[in-house]
Amino acid sequence: MYLKALNLKGFKSFPDRTRLNFSPGVSVIVGPNGCGKSNITDAVLWALGEQSPLAVRGQTMQDVIFAGGKGQSARRFAEVEVVIDNSEGRANSEFSEISVTRRIERGGEGEYRLNGARCRLSDVLEALSDTNLGREMHSVISQGRVEQIINSKPRDRRLLIEEAA
């Protein structure tokens, strides 16, 4: 089981539809300051249900919608799809892929889709917990946050281990 693809449209510095394909093993994403690397991290965190705008560096959730640039007008919505390979059948699902899509519009309306079908956040979280991608998302460490486990309370670390269990 692994992250197979990431589709971004209107999300932060990805105004037009962009597909990133990933393979098992080690992928390294490089580039100069401000080119969009951490925006990719944010996209995965966000698509998988992140509830706090601060965790993706915004003040409101709409901050993730492409705001325009030189010669580019702002977009009206942001959509990110995370495709997880399940060909080994480890997840509690008959699908060979688990696809989670999240969308938000300027007015704040949004939706989640699981393998194309509209669903609630809880459905997404349930599908993910089967893959050991817990709500805590401790498998995604954002820039500047690596030391967080040191500063976290003993109770939070127990919750993290419990959730992995």
Partner: protein, 197 residues
Amino acid sequence: IAAAFEETFEATARNFEEMVSELFPGGRGRLRRMEIGPKPVEQSFAAQGSAEAASEDACGEDGDDDQDGHGSEVGVEIEVTPAGKSMRRLSLLSGGEKSLVALAFVFSVLLARPCPFYILDEVEAALDDINLDRFLRLVRRFAARSQFIVVTHQKRTMDAADVLYGVSMAGDGITKVVSRKLPPDQTELAGDAGPAV
């Protein structure tokens, strides 16, 4: 849920001792269960208390499930002593040392219960070259169990890649990504092959 926690905690704790010896040669570390709450007394039995706590929802209300009969909760304390230093507050450790402790913890949980993928964004920023190599060697070692997506602006980290994604932005605020698969022999830190790095 308590039994699952117990087993996972034991495995994680064993792994943590091993990870610390890898990342802090000559040093030692451990995870310690402790009681939190009105009576902050260390008890290694705390997590075994409530058999009735077994439940299927890992994200649910755990408050009651992990309290032993004395109405207090279980917490996990991290202790690390680098080589030649005496055990003291984690907060006094250096920036690089704190990053290593955090990464040791992440790898310890991985060894017990791997996630399908890990996204690590500039987690090596505070590491000097020697510690960076130790970290990257562990990433290569665990790459068979979990997929790693490592975001960095450092060249040395690129050597650990199977696939490289070059990200750029022209003067228009739009990100472009170009990927390039690296042949296995070019991966200097691949598995256990190659010179000790």
